[in-house]
Symmetry: C2
Subunit: 884 residues, 2 copies
Amino acid sequence: MAKKYVYYFGGGKAEGNGQMKDLLGGKGAGLAEMTNLGIPVPPGFTITTEACNEYFKNGGKYPDGLWEQVLENLKKIEKEMNLKFGDPERPLLVSVRSGAKFSMPGMMDTVLNLGLTDKTLQGLIKMTNNERFAYDAYRRFITMFSSIVMGIDRMKFEELLEKKKEEVGARYDSDLSAEDLKELVEEYKKLYRKEIRQPFPDDPYEQLRMAINAVFNSWNGERAKTYRRLHGIPDDLGTAVNVCTMVFGNMGDNSGTGVAFTRDPSTGEKKFYGECLMNAQGEDVVAGIRTPLPVEKLKEKVPEAYEELMEIYKKLENHYRDMLDIEFTIQEGKLYMLQTRVGKRTARAALKIAIDMVNEGLIDKKTAVMRVDPEQLDQLLHPMIDPKAKAKKIAKGLPASPGAAVGKAVFTAADAEKWAQKGEKVILVRLETSPEDIGGMHAAQGILTARGGMTSHAAVVARGMGKPCVAGCGDLNINEKKKFFTVKDIKVKEGDYITIDGSTGDVMLGQVSLVQPQMTGDFATFMQWVDEFRDMGVRTNADTPKDSKVARKFGAEGIGLCRTEHMFFEGERIKAVREMILSDDVEARKKALKKILPMQKKDFRGIFRAMDGLPVTIRLLDPPLHEFLPHSEKELRELSKEMNVPLKILKERNQALHEFNPMLGHRGCRLGLTYPEIYEMQVRAIMEAACEVKKRGIDVKPEIMIPLVGHVNEIRMMYELVDRTARDVIKRKKVDVDYLIGTMIELPRAAITADEIARYAQFFSFGTNDLTQTTFGLSRDDAGKFLPFYVENKIYPEDPFVSIDTNGVGELVKIGIERGRKTRPELKVGICGEHGGDPKSVEFCYNVGMDYVSCSPFRVPIARLAAAQAALRKQMGDMSKSTV
Amino acid sequence: MAKKYVYYFGGGKAEGNGQMKDLLGGKGAGLAEMTNLGIPVPPGFTITTEACNEYFKNGGKYPDGLWEQVLENLKKIEKEMNLKFGDPERPLLVSVRSGAKFSMPGMMDTVLNLGLTDKTLQGLIKMTNNERFAYDAYRRFITMFSSIVMGIDRMKFEELLEKKKEEVGARYDSDLSAEDLKELVEEYKKLYRKEIRQPFPDDPYEQLRMAINAVFNSWNGERAKTYRRLHGIPDDLGTAVNVCTMVFGNMGDNSGTGVAFTRDPSTGEKKFYGECLMNAQGEDVVAGIRTPLPVEKLKEKVPEAYEELMEIYKKLENHYRDMLDIEFTIQEGKLYMLQTRVGKRTARAALKIAIDMVNEGLIDKKTAVMRVDPEQLDQLLHPMIDPKAKAKKIAKGLPASPGAAVGKAVFTAADAEKWAQKGEKVILVRLETSPEDIGGMHAAQGILTARGGMTSHAAVVARGMGKPCVAGCGDLNINEKKKFFTVKDIKVKEGDYITIDGSTGDVMLGQVSLVQPQMTGDFATFMQWVDEFRDMGVRTNADTPKDSKVARKFGAEGIGLCRTEHMFFEGERIKAVREMILSDDVEARKKALKKILPMQKKDFRGIFRAMDGLPVTIRLLDPPLHEFLPHSEKELRELSKEMNVPLKILKERNQALHEFNPMLGHRGCRLGLTYPEIYEMQVRAIMEAACEVKKRGIDVKPEIMIPLVGHVNEIRMMYELVDRTARDVIKRKKVDVDYLIGTMIELPRAAITADEIARYAQFFSFGTNDLTQTTFGLSRDDAGKFLPFYVENKIYPEDPFVSIDTNGVGELVKIGIERGRKTRPELKVGICGEHGGDPKSVEFCYNVGMDYVSCSPFRVPIARLAAAQAALRKQMGDMSKSTV
């Protein structure tokens, strides 16, 4: 017997349910669940994701039994609706929609009104007694089928439509008469035949088969692939296909269609929030062609349907215990629910909804913590318009995605990407966005559109990305071709600065100053809950007292990486550093180092004070010495004068320090071993600072970290040097300061021989930036030539510098921890690469048993949340999203 | 009860035996063995290496019981010899010698005549009735004790001696009278007191204790440590101390001392071969102060002792079944054996002795194969300086690639090629070489550089080519522009003849005559035996038909690495290659590639023919493209003219291709993925060549290798490209050629994810050069700044580019093989890094289960021998020297 590939829903009962997202996709599962809840859903059926995967496995052929099951289920619908597919009297029309496990807005293609042919059209006219409506449905169907299923440029149909409107002097589509539309249908069919060299299919079953194929194939379309790549969704999930009885929102003024959220997706306010269009089909709302009405307007227009909608949304929210995004259609006053799913929301809304729902008793704190996407939290950490700033507001659109952004106006996605690569901050300005713009939206600081509502493509995608977005700003006259827009008498050209505020919808001229957000209120409450469930530490990477203070405010529990070399560049210090580097012998070097010591000490004192009571991991000098020397002729000449060293000597020294592969060169502990006096000075500065602040009552916990260890002998010799120097300082200063000595694990050999290295290292900090470079043999500085190509083509599933490569680099991390702890069970282990602020990588770190992660100050809250979620996920035994 | 730290030998019986080298050292074990064989050895005892290690562990104190055991064993000697230590009547004198497990000639210090004091001197005079002899012994003892035990400069004693000789008009030491010597003794003691601020010790027990300490301490002396480092001897073996009754070779004309080999150590001839000095102590022979006599002279002088010596050496050789190095002393006509050990020998002698001994029935073939040091075999594979030739040495550099070469000095690679084409033999002299010089290096007889170490470009490439190379010869002042170099006041101009010896580092003026290696006779016999026991393949790294032929003569069983890029530099080809690189688009690139295809194909045909019946692994393009472009302004200008491409464009392209870390950059399969047309052309060239030669009856076995794979998706996509192209060629050419597709494993990630990669790779070839670079995070090009320091200070136990780092890189290799074979049990595994020619690494490769090693042509015999020895060692279960 063939596998079950098709699940029916209708008549108050569904074969599937809301749990079956893997098999039925989000949309299919929602339709089944709603049906089971007794909510009015037009009957239909869902073709499983399994069928889709089989289809691809078979090279584009249906698996055995699929088509038969489709026909059987069509019969069920016919029976329930008392209609017949392809019938010239009472024709059944259906919609065909995709629906994958994860919602992918705008990414998949939908065909409405399927089943219409010249023959069934007559039935539709009879049934509705509305010729105009029937022809309108027909011309829409031909357009959708031709463009989505057959790949004909939609614009060609739009042109015919516009031409027709001109011909007859119609302003809106709705001004066209039945006769006009009838002619249009003929023109459409002619166009189809010209493009495809086949007549438009007049067999509804053929139409259905082709539409199902199109949905399947769209799973591997470029747009879908890009979306999956950006959102880390696996390629092998497949999509389901939902075939659903058509209901019509365009059957007159008591018909309509809409989308709504059970709470405000922007603020989280507990208030039904939606938009609708009367006498329209769903595609009109999503496309943002007409500006929609607030959903409350339905109360006047179709009061019964409105009341029912109110009941249904409450029922649904109580059932799902989450904020939902719903789609509905009203056909001649009767309400049908077409979709329900968990609604996307801003970070601010996510926090508020989570907290409100805990207070309402709908969910517990654990669920609340799991409800917020760590990456999304970033939105709350973004700058806002400084309230005191003077800004010249020139227009106002919809506050589609919160946060403020400043940048130069660009008018195409390609330009956005190009300019961003050059380091420019840009605002992408578009009439409306489409899925092809995703790359440019990523590259931009913010998005500004002239058309579309809160649920338009631009708005939805921008919120997902956490990018500020002002949508539907109708005041703008945008000329995308000539690259400028005007508002009244103001003209903004490509490259002119503008500022947008996605929280208010304001568009401003020039660069307006921004301020940091407040970390109080909902944010503080939520983060407190987060910490209740978190059992892995979160530290920060900070090199200055200022950064340390900021990070501590964000909840950092110490410093995981303090890079001493960054201090070397500050102000006058670089001179002493250069003197040190240019010294010929140990004595001259020591003399220069003596000048640097008090400067370093001062920094350390400040950092220790900011981190009172918390551990501070300080890495000794890491980069190759040539990084501190200038390279251009001009700079060298200046330096020569300044330092009173002949230019020739400077050049020779520069040349001698040159390296072919500085990444693999004379750096890290290799410097410490060959120039022990440098590390000695640094340890002295750290320990003297520690002793001095301790005398003033500061609880100081220095952890001294040796970089680039690859062999046990390196850490053995460096341990001895550091320990000897530290003891000496303590003896002289007569203050006892506890300190740890440890190492970065950033070379494959260090991970492989971690058992040996742990003999001398009291802690490990995985430097996964460099570990990724050496494990892959991939220079970050040079990867621009092929890494984008690799990520684009999924040769690497993800950019390994963004999210840790669990199979390769991660495997080395696991080996390193296992072997290290075999020698020293109490070994403290953390990570200080940039991965420490990436939620997926944080979960990995948690699962391999790290004691802490360390990340940049602004990502500390994200890491805290990711760590709490990792702990909860483990606790709940939900390994489905685990990265290990 | 205390541990047994002291082993007695004497009276025809010893407590130890010849097997106990670990505990008694080589010398002590030999003395015990000889005693047990009934050979006359002066009685004595050996203090164990354990005692030495305990001494260091205790911070320079004797372990419990050691001194008591020394005293007990002294008593045994006294009893046997009827002498008494410190006795004024019949004083016992002893020698104190070091003796570690491995012979370390000249590294350890010996004290003779110990026990002499003013008091015991009188006893010695009485016993010998020879005042002069006694005082001579005394002054020698004071000299040795003062210099070796107390560290006083020996020269100061020599000066007093010379002064005395002058005073009394003596020509030789032996011209000094007893009275002269007596005065000298007093002066010596005065010198001692002045230097040490203590009188010379007059207690023999005190002398003994101090001497034992000195032997122990010499284990950690700089000379010993350096020797151990150079010979890979572990530091924790410790040395034994041999205390032995003194016998005197300086008691008159029927006394003497000598050293001898049981066969000729230079030629291997079966002939007792030695030297002796009459009326002398051992130190005189070793020091080379007097010219010794051939050992046969003893026949006249002390016929009985000579006869006995003849019997003893035969007995010993029969017993040890090896060529021995012996030391003896004749005291007033009576022979004493002082030492026996396996004798060092030249490679030529090693072969002859091994073969002769098999023919004599002394040893079996397995033993013969184990007797020759693979590294030593190198001597036999290159031309050598004729030992009889007179040579004017002018400088010394690093012995970077063995063999001697004669030629006219040239100073650019282009000149080398030009001159060579005219039939001139040239030596390429460069400050340092770079990849552009490869053509010139090929054309030259040998390479001489002023900069760079054993792993510099010149050294690595020369070894690969089997060209003699002297690198890092800092004495040379090279003027590449004006084409000459100077050393002190010598000037060598372009065209002047020079000779270099890459085995020693010597640079000589003029044409020194050379001797060519013989690959026949003993060598052929021996290598045939080697192959009888070898069960791992040995292939070669060869890029040209010529190299392939050479390698096959050396016994290569295929090519393990054929680098296609080296072919790119040859002659006119580089132009087409540059055209390809400078192409803006795929079409232009394809056009240029079309020109390269026939050139590559021609090479492949030649290589396939040379390797008829054997597998040939061809690596597709690996280095970053910028390596093929010239870099100097002048060269760029020439290229611009030649190619008719504006200089500006050339410069831009050069700039665009520049990489910060080319080692980790856009190379290997990253090129193949981003420019598939390059690999396609190469595969086409390989397969077309294969099909064409197969049509002519050649048995061709191409193995196509993808470089720098780090992710399964890379090999998957490259496998598809190669396979598709290969099938296409086969189809067009209508010849079926079997081929394999595999990959280099040269990145840590490749080793870690070898299970995934093996899904597509049919073979693995470990590229341990690059794997070492990435595992250590160590650029070979830049390591010169600290690697010598690291090796010198034993931070790395060995240069990891010379011998594979078993703990780190080796561990990754093991992981890679295990995981790879888990997916594909029949996976073919080899190594093609330079380690493939290093005996220790070859043993490692054998023990981790590789199918073959691949090395440069000239190292093939070395690898064959190393592989056979590894197999035998494993078979014999002797894991003591195993590297895994």
